[in-house]
Symmetry: C2
Amino acid sequence: MAAAKELNYVADPHASRLAAGKTRSIGMVVPMFTQWFFTQVVSGADAVLAASGYDILLYSIGGPEGRNRFLTSMPFRKRVDGLIIVDVALAAEEEKALAAAGTPIVLVGNGSKLFPSVRIDNVAAATTATRHLVNLGHEHVGLISGPPDDPLHFTAPLRRRDGYQQALRQQGIEPRPEFEVPGNFSLKGGAEAMAQLLAVHPAPTAVFAQSDEMAIGALRTVRDSGLRVPEDISIIGFDDHDMAEFVGLTTIFQPVVAQGELAATLLLQETGDGDPPAGVVLPTKLRVRTTTGPLRGVRSLLMSRRLPHRGARA
Amino acid sequence: MAAAKELNYVADPHASRLAAGKTRSIGMVVPMFTQWFFTQVVSGADAVLAASGYDILLYSIGGPEGRNRFLTSMPFRKRVDGLIIVDVALAAEEEKALAAAGTPIVLVGNGSKLFPSVRIDNVAAATTATRHLVNLGHEHVGLISGPPDDPLHFTAPLRRRDGYQQALRQQGIEPRPEFEVPGNFSLKGGAEAMAQLLAVHPAPTAVFAQSDEMAIGALRTVRDSGLRVPEDISIIGFDDHDMAEFVGLTTIFQPVVAQGELAATLLLQETGDGDPPAGVVLPTKLRVRTTTGPLRGVRSLLMSRRLPHRGARA
DNA sequence: CTGAAAGCGCTTACAG
DNA sequence: CTGAAAGCGCTTACAG
């Protein structure tokens, strides 16, 4: 034993896994690694998994092809003790196939009947965001959304769009297709989307961007056009990214690191004993800052409409 | 064989590793996961490693304690075929101990006599940044740097400080300790550091922030103080973060994703045959945008001083 | 309670 | 070229 210490011996982890049947590692599946949201979730999960002595295997699956390759080859089999899948929407058969592989799984971003999950209520959060704009008197409300055709990869953009449309309809406003433009969840995409919205006649007086990064891109375009925020146009984002407070962006806060932490915790305590999978929905919150304001000319009217909105949250 | 396909058989990777002696996985060591630079490097390395069929193991070592634990326990031993260590400065004995562990290693951010490395010339890049400010007529130049006491963890802050001081001295300006404040490599840290600099008498007329995130934080403070950029104060950053172009930040571009890609490539082709380790230094580049400008009142004088600066790069 | 043996599921050198 | 056997370095049930 002393000699082992002396010689700096370490047990071969592969031999021990083979003998013991445990890998002591967890896989994290993310669409990509360059987006703020995913890195924060990984960071949260990493902290709790590392504290429990687990190694973390990264599966960055990229686009739709990578997604399908991952789901069919399932490279994690016999490789990890568990899997955290972030923001990959699964069809029913896909869930079934994953479950059949036998690896414990926790989902982040989507609910599931088969696996425990951690997520927010995107529809409600988007409704809150949109209603905030409508309550300020805006009737022409634009939407900057995710990639245009990506039915299975992400669901957040679709849910947030649902919430946006629902909020409008609830106020008797019919959503207009020309007011919905894709923004690619990036600064640049947001900036370009905003340019597209400004070209519509009449242009929206308020815009809900589905991520803060897109919202900040949109802000840039608005200001470059010589328009003022919020006097000429209001903008609300989603996430409460570090940068949001910084630029005074009104947005929907969602706990990001906490979603990763919680997913890891659920995974570690997963019994597999047939108890129904936990579906945890974390709260979001409207954070009003300086990029949203009343529609010009209706300030007085507003005073009465603002009240029901007080303290609204998703 | 057909039956294997039928039954969805996959070889146990641990058994095969044990028999074959290869793990088909690579470890990535980063100080933390929440910083832009590291996620981008990981993303670059991930792309080339995944393409070669390697799994990626993440070691996020956190603070100084985590760093030392990692270096002493070396949890990657017998676990991975190779290691990419990002921005962890290694003492000579630490390098020797790592080399003795026998795992092929490539360093990102620091040079080494024992391991191949990919990095930029931080001293030269910081010199370029500082000289840019001095060439614009600034003599009171502030520095927003990294964590105050972190001699071994990161070297970039120290090197960039060296470059800053060298550039000043070359122009006959003695660096002033009260002009150097730590900014924690975050937005908030940059904002606070800037507030500290503005409180100095006389305050600097130009500031070199060691990262774009800190520079953007500084910009915020300056504008909140009612000062104009660049008329009242010039700010230059470092990295060329996505956000930099967006806010018009003058900065030093460094290839980030490319450093990860290259490190992975070097690791995959590492022979261990005694050839001297490759030390690749990637070029950086000054990107002048709108947050830097001539010192007030010396515009005319400037015309002559600007010339030697043309085309300068690190 | 201690220690030697069997077995985890592969790969690969080797005998046929 | 094919196929059976040994061995990779552990864990753990089992005999003593």
